[in-house]
Amino acid sequence: MSFVVVLFPEPRDVYIDDQMQGSTRAASGRPRALYVNAGSHVFRLGGRADVEPPTQTLDVPERPILNPFRVDFRKI
């Protein structure tokens, strides 16, 4: 098991392997950690197509909640 934080300047729905995982941000505005099983996964965001890169295939290492794996998306 591992933890990831998906970063994007706006709240967006996060999809891991095409399965909806909730928003990039909590109601407080802070990004939120997500559970993920370690290994290869495809990350993408929902909403408008203003995200770079559109998808990321990443090998997620085992990470504890206090040191989550970062997945960065940029707004274009």
Binding site: M1, D18, G22, A33, L34, Y35, S40, V42
Partner: protein
């Protein structure tokens, strides 16, 4: 001469009867339809409480025990904020079953509580085993059994279809679900890969086959194809054909989670699970037929599928993803485990066990292997989640004390409460003679009436006195109080006539 010709014609007619094509037809086209979690429960419509039931194998013993659990859950009613009282049975999202437990699971998914009485008459209190033997002994069926595409398990499936499931297919199951019935995983075992094979469209996509036209009785028969007594069930695995652009099997695309699991070389568990699944497409030329046996050979408690869904994204109905999405805040897993565990006494004698003992062990031994381990794996997974949460909260608290302006730059993952309840005969610890009686009950599709009634009552008592269940209910419905669940001594006496 004329009589001989007439006999030959009759034999040919009987032999060919039922030659209506393959048991599992080829898909017309790949799509999102069919018997899948999202089409049964309404993906994204989950409520805060997610309930999974697991029904073990054990013939009518298991069917009656799991039925007792369903009856008791129906009677567990609690007030709902802003709405009428509801029954805990209405909260059940998924039932995963093997072997005897599959009869109860499939019948409830098809007919709901309105079918409870019918199930008692059609299956629980009926001598299904006797009917099966009579069918096999009927001379007109001998000729059918000579065919290469027809065997004892097909005969069993016909009987179950006729007397228990009344012609219902997985298409019927989907029509009747409408989000109100649980998603049912009927689990069998793939003989070649030795792994779990579930009767869902997600699994049948891998065979390029349409599950909606398969009778539910087939799934139940495969799930309960007890080794040697019943033959394996054979399914078709349809190949694609690059030379034929119209072949629907050409357009198979592995779901993303499956393709990614195959790439996860540092995660052997993910890879092993994915390799088993993709082998149906990758090796379709070498495996045009798939042979299935009793689901208990791969997992006799039916919890392997739920474990995968609860612990990661590698599932067509990942509960892990729904927890991330804050849809689910509490998970309750209740396993009705009808395993028997009487010491056969082999170790008290110098002479080795006889052939019957060895055969019994070989055919049933693997069925107990994963039962306990899977419950432990799921509980350990949630313990780990909670420990991570505690460390996050402790760290944030410490940081606030030392430096009030500091804030961890992200929020923790969703918090989830987990409750696991296992109902098993070895938990009848306050009445050891009754425990010994239950552990000595036969594995058969025919049990005496008092034994069936006793099993239903034992399930009720075990659930309503389970410390884990009471703890779960104190969170789900704090005002709920269990009713007494006595077992009449006269019933025990009738069901367990031998000195207990």
């Amino acid at each position: 001469m004329r009589a001989g010709r007439a006999l030959a014609a009759a034999v040919a007619l009987v032999t060919l009867a039922g030659c209506a094509g393959p048991v599992n037809p080829r898909l017309v086209a790949y799509g999102d339809g069919g018997y899948r979690y999202a089409n049964v429960r309404g993906d994204g419509q989950e409520e805060e409480l997610f309930v999974i039931l697991a029904f073990s194998g054990g013939g009518t013993r298991a069917a009656a025990f799991s039925y007792g659990l369903l009856e008791t859950l129906r009677a567990v009613t609690y007030p709902r904020a802003g709405g009428p009282a509801r029954s805990l049975l209405d909260d059940v999202d998924v039932i995963s079953s093997v072997s005897g437990g599959s009869f109860t699971a499939a019948h409830y998914a098809l007919f709901g509580t309105a079918g409870f009485k019918q199930f008692e008459e059609d299956f629980l209190y009926r001598n299904i085993q006797g009917k099966l033997i009579l069918k096999m002994l009927a001379p007109w069926n001998w000729f059918r059994l000579m065919r290469s595409d027809y065997s004892r398990i097909d005969m069993a499936a016909e009987l179950y279809d006729d007397v228990v499931f009344h012609g219902a297919t997985f298409g019927t199951l989907l029509e009747r679900a409408h989000g109100r019935r649980p998603y049912v995983l009927l689990n069998a075992t793939d003989m070649t890969v030795g792994a779990r094979f579930e009767f869902t469209q997600d699994q049948f996509d891998l065979l390029c086959s349409d599950l909606s036209r398969v009778p539910v009785a087939r799934g139940v028969a495969a799930s309960s194809a007890f080794p040697i007594l019943l033959s394996p069930m054979t399914l078709h695995n349809y190949p694609g054909d690059p030379a034929d652009p119209g072949n629907p099997c050409n357009s198979f695309r592995a779901p993303t989670w499956l393709a990614q699991a195959l790439k996860s070389v540092d995660q052997p568990r993910r890879v092993a699970l994915a390799r088993n699944l993709i082998s149906y497409r990758d090796a379709v030329k070498a495996r045009p037929y798939i042979h299935l046996l009793d689901g208990g050979l791969a997992d006799n408690i039916g919890l392997r599928g739920p474990y995968v869904a609860l612990s990661g994204q590698d599932s067509a109905w990942s509960v892990f993803s729904k927890i991330n999405d804050r849809k689910i805040q509490r998970v309750l897993v209740i396993a009705a485990n009808a395993k028997t565990g009487r010491d056969p006494g082999w170790d008290a004698r110098e002479s080795p066990p006889g052939i019957a003992g060895v055969m019994g062990l070989v055919t049933t031994g693997p069925m107990g292997n994963y039962s306990f381990e899977t419950v432990q794996l799921i509980a350990e997974h949630f313990r780990q989640l909670n420990a991570e949460h505690e460390s996050f909260n402790a760290c944030e608290q410490l940081a606030k004390e030392q430096c009030p302006a500091f804030q961890i730059p992200f929020e923790p993952a969703a918090e989830v409460e987990f409750h696991a309840v296992e109902l098993a005969f070895d938990k009848v610890t306050d009445d050891l003679p009754l425990q010994r009686c239950l552990e000595g009950l036969a594995t058969s599709f025919s049990l005496p009436r008092p034994q069936v009634t006793l099993l239903r009552q034992v399930a009720r008592r075990l659930l309503l006195t389970s410390p884990e269940f009471l703890a779960a209910m104190s969170k789900i419905a704090p005002t709920w109080k269990p009713e007494p669940a006595p077992i009449a001594p006269a019933l025990v006496h009738e069901a367990c006539p031998q000195p207990r």
